[in-house]
């Protein structure tokens, strides 16, 4: 795979050569994230978030494995064992705050990664498979994060588990038995907590597996870039290492600074106070909300307040919530514009900045607000736009838009001219 001018791996010392001859792992790494991977020379800082997301996954796995050494997945002691980690385990408070805020950091990074993809058309051919794997990762992340939030067995944990499994109860006929099966009981209890712990431990490793597929698929056509023009020649690319390792190293430093500022100085700012109250099946908190990264989808769920013909409101909300993410799977075939990057698509750009971004902002805000007016009406309008944007506006824009002229190549976009382009024009 990759381009013919890619650097070839040459072992630096006899040991590496010995290993490489028998198990070409050094070569594999060299070609994946080393000097053997030619990358467009014009990537901007929005291309840092893939590496950062990978870092977050490692961070969550490391802190999570360590926390699991002290946590007890039993409804009687789960809350106390969490407090035991916070009070008595050496550095336990730091590890738990690192894991809790790490989940938020992971989602921040992944949302930026996804929206980079939306704007620069990273989902388009020939990178559909990269995009599909990415959506699968996002779904797995949501499942993992949800189950992780249940583990401390606070009020929000318990009622989150009850409400989210209640979504499955909306499915006609099989809904109620399905919900009982998911929980292993009629309400969240030991059975649910134990299986959530088991799956919360397992899924990150599944995510890691899909991440490998995601990167594998990426390395077939190579990375996209802000112009959306495919790589034409050697002058368009530079080796991943040292250019992008250096740039990602700087990005990682900025990320870690912000993350640690949260971890050490505002560790509970993104959490909900009610989760410091032990789970109480007899009393629901006044205002239940999921973690912030679910808010847009929670807002969509709650936007469907009226029955639509024969479809009950509850079912409609559940379908719409799952549909709002499933629609991403079809994005490569909905947006058929031959121009990839939003930079050269005037109409698309307007809908992106003045439609999708404000709608997402409203959904984020309303998902965290109480289920009362005016938030419900605001989220209804934003939800309407959300579905129109992906399913109606993008296909139509793709066929009516007149894109702006594209540069001949990445080199021309960076340097103002490309010798090859001139040669071509001259010939």
């Amino acid at each position: 795979m990759s381009f013919p001018w890619a650097n070839q791996y040459e072992p630096q010392n006899p040991l590496m050569k010995w290993v490489d001859d028998r198990l070409p792992l050094p070569r594999f790494v060299y070609n994946a994230i080393g000097a053997g991977y030619p990358v467009p020379r014009n990537l901007n800082y929005f291309w840092n978030f893939g590496v950062l997301a990978g870092f977050c996954l490692v961070l969550q796995i490391v802190t999570g494995v360590v926390l699991a050494m002290h946590y007890a997945p039993n409804a009687l002691v789960a809350f106390d064992s969490t407090e035991h980690i916070m009070r008595d385990v050496n550095w336990g408070w730091m590890l738990r705050y690192a894991h809790a805020n790490g989940a938020s950091a992971f989602f921040v990074v992944v949302y930026l990664h996804i929206f980079r993809g939306f704007f620069y058309g990273s989902y388009k051919a020939p990178r559909e498979m990269v995009w599909l794997m990415g959506v699968v990762i996002f779904l797995l992340m949501m499942a993992t994060a949800f189950m992780g939030y249940v583990l401390p067995w606070g009020q929000m944990s318990f009622w989150g588990a009850k409400v989210i499994t209640g979504l499955f109860g909306a499915i006609p006929l099989v809904g109620e038995p399905l919900q009982i099966w998911l929980l292993g009981g009629f309400a969240p209890d030991n059975a649910a907590l134990n299986r959530f712990f088991s799956l919360h431990f397992l899924l990150p490793f599944v995510i890691a597996g899909v991440v490998i597929l995601h990167i594998w698929a990426l390395h077939i056509p190579g990375s996209s870039n802000p112009t959306g023009v495919e790589v034409k020649g050697e002058s368009d690319t530079i080796p991943f290492h040292p250019y992008y390792t250096a740039k990602d190293g700087f990005g990682l430093g900025v990320f870690l600074f912000l993350y640690c500022a949260m971890l050490f100085f505002l560790p509970n700012a993104l959490g909900h106070p009610d989760n410091y109250i032990p789970a109480n099946p007899m009393s629901t908190p006044a205002h239940i909300v999921p973690e912030w990264y679910f808010w847009p989808f929670y807002a969509i769920l709650r936007a469907f307040t009226a029955d639509f013909f024969f479809i009950p409101a509850k079912l409609m909300g559940v379908i719409a919530m799952f549909g709002s993410i499933l629609v991403w799977f079809f994005l490569p075939w909905l947006d058929t514009s031959p121009v990839r990057s939003g930079h050269y698509r005037p109409l698309f750009r307007k809908f992106f900045w003045f439609g999708l971004i404000p709608a997402m902002a409203v959904l984020f805000y309303c998902g965290g607000a109480p289920a009362e007016e005016p938030f419900v009406m605001m989220s209804q309008l934003a939800t309407a736009y959300y579905f129109l944007h992906f399913l109606v506006i993008l296909p139509i824009v793709a066929s009516v838009e007149r894109p702006e002229p594209l540069p001949y190549s990445i080199t021309e976009a960076v340097l103002g001219s490309d010798d090859n382009a001139e040669l071509k024009a001259a010939s």
Binding site: Q12, G34, N90, W91, G92, L95, P239, G249
Partner: protein, 192 residues
Amino acid sequence: MTESTGTADVDGVAAAESGEGVRRRDFINIAAVGAAGVGGVVTLLPLVSQMAPSKDVLAESSTELDVSAIQPGQAVKAVFRKQPVFVRNLTAKEIEEANAVDVGSLRDPQTLAERTKEGHENWLITMGVCTHLGCVPLGAGEGENKGEFGGYFCPCHGSHYDTAARIRKGPAPLNLQVPEYEFTSDTVVKIG
């Protein structure tokens, strides 16, 4: 991730610079990679130390025990650091037997006096953990096998301890360990 794997491209450019420039540039790269390394190593510290005993475990590392109810010839098992401690009130005969042994002939030479506190020579306080592989020896409970030397007997691999809990026969290398303890009054012992 060393800078030496940098491409020929970079090395070529660097080589074209003056010698001093090369050194300054290398210095920044080495410093940056070095800082990342230091950060990584420091991050390992909490990950390692979280496995050490937590505060609640350490807080239970001393045990207080009232021994007034233990009659001569009797022993009780107390718990110290989640392990058994044998507290034995020795009879005059047991003390005599222990003192009659030629210390030089023992595998782990110690006198009874070295294994008890002055003024409380009848109190033999030892860990109930066989020094062979950590089983709990018999002999502290009423009617249990005390072994050939009238002290303790470990059934796992047949180690016999005498009335001073010294190893006399079997595979164990050392006498039963005497934990740190003190009498805080005539009848209260603080172990640990």
